[in-house]
């Protein structure tokens, strides 16, 4: 694999290794889709370890396989080569154990259910007793600031509120691992900032492991402890940037600090190099 890692980044990566136990271990993973136009290499030779409590972002241009990689972790796609473990087991076992909550690009709320019943959906499927369902629904709707909207139907809420409801639904499973696929991609800047801040607070409070797909550099840098820069054709990891910003809740102003800009610059350089490598 021809990987160009700037010297500076590499030294930084080595200086701040992930010391925690890893939740996701990926090695030599490839995924090739067979199409009528011949094989498409969606992912090629991916090596990645994600530690417990990490907030990891996949960033890259469209077609770089970041969503596909997330879907492999979630057992929504299968790799064609290489290996992956989630919580020490196969992704399928992890999925059957309900080890993760998944937030999609769109809210994907069911329009015939009220918000509260949407949040309760995974709990009904897990067969939890009604009282436990009610407690979890109430707790998680409060967590995303949606109390008072229990009886509303999804189409009666704004896009931002719908996406918050879908996050509450993923959290209601109470997984240690949260997989988020561009959850705020369709929202405007202000709502996005607000939800980013809330998400970071939530992450700090619950100590979950989060894997977050985005194509926004500020979002990735603001949220993450580790940024995985990917490049397309074939989809591969171009660079992994460890963030030296403080863990836990970060004020939005942090985006104007030199440290933040330095990391953002490094990510941008990585994205640019990944692109030019292709041309």
């Amino acid at each position: 694999m021809a990987k160009v890692i700037p010297l500076e980044t590499r030294s930084m990566t080595e200086a701040r290794p992930t010391s925690r136990t890893s939740v996701i271990d990926i090695s030599k993973l490839s995924l090739t889709f067979e199409t009528t136009d011949g094989p498409v290499h969606a992912l090629k030779d991916i090596d990645l370890a994600i530690g417990k409590g990490d907030f990891v972002s996949f960033i890259g241009p469209s077609g770089c396989g970041k969503t596909t990689l997330l879907r492999v972790i979630a057992d929504l796609e299968r790799q064609t080569a290489g290996s992956i473990t989630v919580n020490g087991t196969t992704p399928e076992m992890a999925r059957l154990n309900r080890a993760y909550g998944y937030v999609f690009q769109a809210p994907a709320l069911y329009p015939w259910r009220t918000i509260a019943r949407n949040v309760a959906l995974p709990l009904e499927i897990m067969g939890l007793p009604k009282s436990e369902q009610d407690t979890r629904v109430r707790r998680n709707m409060e967590l995303v600031n949606l109390q008072g909207f229990e009886k509303k139907f999804p189409w009666q809420l704004s896009g931002g509120m719908q996406q918050r409801a879908s996050i509450a639904r993923a959290l209601a499973v109470e997984p240690d691992l949260l997989l988020m696929d561009e959850p705020f991609g369709a929202l405007d800047e202000i709502v996005r900032d607000h939800l980013n801040e809330q998400l970071l607070k939530l992450w700090a409070k619950t100590e979950k492991t989060v894997v977050f797909v985005t194509h926004s550099i500020p979002e990735a840098v603001y949220l993450s402890t580790k940024i995985v820069v990917m490049s397309p054709r074939p989809g591969r990891i171009h660079d992994i940037v460890e963030s030296n910003l403080p863990r836990g809740p970060r004020p939005l102003d942090i985006r104007e600090t030199p440290e933040f800009l330095k990391i953002a610059h490094r990510v941008r350089e990585g994205l640019r190099a990944g692109h030019s490598y292709d041309d």
Partner: protein, 375 residues
């Protein structure tokens, strides 16, 4: 008034209505009646029409609509009531008066349709009133034209004759309704839709059935009903089960195809969501795919509600006990009793509309979330 017509700018309908009412007063009404004005009731109706037409042009919405409704319907009733007086060949005043009443009613309905109200009760009343007035005037014109022009009742009976049959033949009509609608149609519809639905669930679960069964279902649905009906009579006898069988054949396939399509209607993301929850097939079906399929399923239920009625009536043309709507229609046509045929048609139309309306009402309750229903 004529001045306004010449100047232009006024809606012409009330003006023409006014002129026709005016003419009707001074033209012969029938062979023995030299002037419309000679019949006191007719004269009153025409003066009323002229006033209504004036009100339509000069008054505010409420007064104009009330005056228009009263004047046009009173005149319509009087014109029809004059029919026995004027004999078999009514003269110019009769037609002029009829046209005046019709035009005023037209103008009134137009005025009602233009009313903008925020009051939900009134907007509902208006929503019902417009088609109701439309229907009433079709009946009035039908009655006046058929009797005024002396159309033979074998070609087209007057609504009053059909109405008389509807009242006098209630026991026969009720027995036919029970036999055809309550037995053949409803039972056939439930069995046809139910089996189509269950087979769709099976087709969805077992992929090879989709490739094997759907083409056969397509083939069955293409069978001509007039060919199938006699065979069903031989299989299931003369009574209603053979008609229900025809209905089952007609309704099965629309339900099968719609349900299969509906079960595919849930989005990719919604299904992936179920997969991330490790939901089993039954849970995914009950909590996602069936609710998402409901608009399709109700579509089939509505299509089938009309198909079932057609199927049951036509099937009765091919062997039946001496009761049933299709049997009655075929025998009464043979006896030239066309008014009875129309009475059966009226019952069938009313039953079919109510059936469809009931299904559509349940649909609105069940698929309240669908963009075409929700408010």
């Amino acid at each position: 008034m004529t001045g306004q017509l010449l100047r232009g700018g006024t809606p012409p309908l009330p003006v023409i209505a006014f002129l026709c009412a005016f003419i009707a007063l001074f033209r012969p009404l029938g062979a023995n009646i030299a002037y419309g004005a000679a019949e006191p009731l007719f004269a009153l109706a025409m003066v009323g029409l002229a006033f209504g037409a004036y009100a339509m042009m000069r008054f505010g919405d409420r007064a104009a609509i009330v005056a228009g409704l009263v004047a046009s319907h009173f005149a319509g009733a009087v014109v029809i009531a004059e029919l026995p007086e004027v004999g078999s060949h009514p003269f110019g005043a009769f037609w002029s008066g009829l046209v005046a009443a019709w035009l005023l009613a037209w103008a009134t309905v137009g005025r009602i349709a233009a009313v903008r109200t925020r009051n939900p009760t009134w907007s509902r009343i208006i929503g019902i009133a417009i088609p109701a007035l439309f229907g009433i005037w079709i009946l009035i014109l039908w009655e006046a034209l058929v009797r005024g022009l002396g159309v033979p009742s074998v070609l087209l009976p007057a609504p009053s004759a059909i109405g008389a049959k509807l009242v006098s033949e209630v026991p026969t009509l009720a027995a036919d309704f029970r036999q055809t609608f309550l037995k053949a149609v409803l039972i056939g519809w439930v069995l046809g839709c139910g089996s189509g639905f269950l087979v769709a669930l099976l087709v969805d679960r077992v992929p090879f059935l989709r490739r094997g069964l759907l083409p056969i279902g397509n083939f069955v649905s293409a069978l001509p009903i007039v060919g199938v009906a006699p065979i069903m009579v031989m299989w299931f006898g003369f009574d209603w089960p053979s008609k229900a069988a025809v209905v089952v054949i007609m309704t099965f396939f629309p339900m099968l195809v719609n349900t299969v399509a509906g079960l595919e209607a849930a989005g990719r993301m919604e299904r992936d969501l179920m997969r991330t929850y490790a939901a089993d097939h039954r849970q995914e079906l009950l909590k996602l795919r069936l609710p998402a399929a409901m608009p399709f399923i109700f579509n089939a239920l509505k299509i089938n509600s009309t198909l079932a009625l057609i199927g049951a009536i036509v099937a009765e043309f091919f062997g039946t006990p001496i009761v049933g709507m299709g049997f009655r229609i075929s025998t009464e046509v043979g006896r030239m009793a066309i008014d009875m045929v129309w009475a059966e048609i009226a019952v069938a139309a009313l039953a079919g509309s109510l059936f469809y309306g009931a299904v559509a009402f349940v649909e609105r309750v069940v698929t309240f979330w669908h963009p075409s229903v929700r408010r």
